[in-house]
Amino acid sequence: MNTKRVIGLGNLYAGDDAVGILVIRKLQALHLPGVDMIEAGLAGLTLLDLLEGAKHAIVVDAVQSDLEEGAIIRLEIPQDQDQVTRLSWDSATPSTHSIGLSEAITLGMTLGILPEQLTIIGIELAHCTTNQPISRKVFAATETVLASIVEDLRKMACTNSN
């Protein structure tokens, strides 16, 4: 695997939770060299395996906080580590997945096994209803996220060549 990776999390069949996967598919279509684009589903702990050996990684996922639908949250780890809990699902939402993005990242930080540079991009969702299409504003956000990831990757390439 390349040391640069973009990892998308989510579920194509659960409304706006598809957004992380859709971003990866758009990135894959660009055929950018030297970077792995990975669809990781609901990853959980496996996310740490996918980050192993990476120097620069970007993780994209739908998030549910108190922002407007389609709003984009960007966290740089470790600088923004105190904000990682924002990535947790609302505790009132029944979740079967006790180890989600927030927990996996927290565990990775505790163990000191995360990439040097890890960016987490969260896109605020409106709904995650099974078999319902992605919301218009959330889908629109994919273009903004795509452009920012392409820019990040370009900067990484410049840094690497130095």
Binding site: G41, L42, L45, S91, S98, L107, T110
Partner: protein, 435 residues
């Protein structure tokens, strides 16, 4: 609850952590006596048995894999082993070995996750594996690396680490070359040592739940530590082929749960690693027997909390056997035997990480599925969990509510219940009725 006096106390622990899926536990206590224990699984039924009807037999392995993200291989294995006898096909030994290797991968992955991240925090006094990692970083790293070895093996054989896509009726869609498998040997050798250390670590824990005289039910085989082969056996003399399963085991609807209770002639029993270990000690690899003999523990384990040791032993067995299989593996010429559908009905039981997994399929002459029955391990263990709690509660009723609740949760977690499989969220309610 109906008839509950106004001054009855309810203790509620929202979201039971570290179980796969969602459910609730209701305990009713009156005058220091346990009146009722109900493990309530309120996840809606998932209807897999119904929507398999009308599907082509070839679609079954991919559909049933979706029942569980932790043990998809088990569902695939029970499905293919049930369907293949209908079509009268013989599976070559090389394919049987690969299926076993795939099952080893799932046992490693599933058991290690439970041992390190879900169960060990109970013995060491942490809320979660993440909290535990602050004080035991090297141990947690060892667990993550061990789990990864299982993932790698599963990915190599199944095409991806969750919901593998290579299993089909008749064999595989693709089989690995010997060289591909050999790339995993170094990792497996590391994992074997790490599994021995895991056993030494878990045997040092304190097991304080009450001893029970369990009816253990598992496959028993003369040729293997059972995954795909053997008769359904118990420590009380039961020994039956899978075709007779429904004569002895009945599913029962209870009003408070969306998962059926499966009983052996009306009685509870325990399925899973403790049962397998007790019934199949002879089939353990010499290395596992050696390590077990040095722990000071003897079989049968009578405390359900010792499931963590049983899982650790099974992880070592699975790694040892995976190495053995890779060593003797010769890639078959054909990845699968060709299948011509015909009408029939057949059943199979295989050993999922959590215990017996029964599948029955009825197929018509063009290979369309007409009827399906699936009995997952957690529905089999549900009644035994309730009975364990009944045995446990009298020992702790004088303790504070939080302590009682935690004790109950620990017992439930010892079973590594997969509530999603059984139909998910365990909320604990204790109702204390005045005398």
């Amino acid at each position: 609850m109906p008839g509950k006096p106004n001054n009855a106390r309810t203790i509620k622990v929202n979201m039971m952590a570290r179980v796969e899926g969602e459910g609730a536990l209701h305990v009713t206590v009156c005058d220091q006596e346990v009146q009722d224990v109900q493990l309530r699984i309120f996840e809606p039924p998932r209807f897999f048995e119904a929507f398999l009807q009308g599907r082509h037999f070839s679609e079954v392995p991919d559909i049933v894999a979706r029942i569980c993200g932790i043990c998809p291989v088990a569902y695939q294995m029970s499905a293919v082993h049930a369907l293949e006898p209908i079509f009268g096909i013989q599976i070559p030994q090389s394919i049987q070995l690969l299926r076993r290797l795939l099952y080893c991968a799932e046992w490693i992955e599933s058991h290690v996750l439970h041992i390190y991240m879900l169960h060990a925090p109970d013995f060491l006094g942490y809320e979660s594996g993440i909290e535990m990692a602050k004080d035991y970083p090297d141990i947690v790293k060892r667990g993550l690396r061990l789990k990864k070895v299982g993932n790698q093996l599963l990915t190599l054989l199944g095409g991806r680490s969750v919901h593998p896509v290579s299993v089909k009726v008749g064999g595989f869609s693709r089989v690995p070359s010997k060289r591909e498998l050999e790339t995993l040997i170094d990792d497996l050798l590391w994992a074997r040592d790490a599994a021995v250390e895991t056993i030494r670590w878990t045997t040092g824990f304190e097991f304080s739940d009450p001893e029970q005289d369990y009816t253990f039910v598992a496959l028993r085989s003369a040729t293997e530590y059972p995954m795909n082969d053997g008769l359904v056996a118990s420590n009380r003399g039961l020994e039956i082929p899978a075709v007779d399963f429904e004569q002895y085991f009945q599913e029962k609807q209870v009003t408070y749960s969306n998962a059926l209770h499966c009983l052996l002639n009306g009685q509870s029993y325990l399925a899973g690693p403790l049962a397998r270990l007790h019934l199949n000690y002879e089939q353990l690899s010499p290395l596992v027997k050696d390590v077990l003999s040095t722990t000071g523990l003897s079989l049968p384990f009578k405390r359900v909390s010792q499931g963590i040791v049983a899982r650790s032993l099974e992880v070592l067995h699975a790694i040892d056997e995976a190495l053995d299989i890779i060593q003797q593996y010769e890639a078959p010429n054909d990845a699968a035997v060709s299948v011509t559908p015909r009408a029939g009905i057949s059943m199979a039981v295989t050993e999922a990480p959590r215990g017996l997994l029964y599948h029955r399929y009825q197929v018509n002459e063009d290979g369309t599925i007409q009827a399906v029955k699936i009995v997952p391990p957690t529905s089999q263990n549900q009644r035994q969990i309730e009975e364990d709690l009944r045995a446990f509660l009298p020992h702790v009723l004088d303790r504070p509510d939080e302590e009682v609740a935690l004790g109950c949760e620990k017992i439930v977690r010892s079973y590594d219940p997969c509530i999603s499989c059984a139909t998910h969220f365990l909320t604990l309610h204790i109702h204390k009725l005045p005398a």
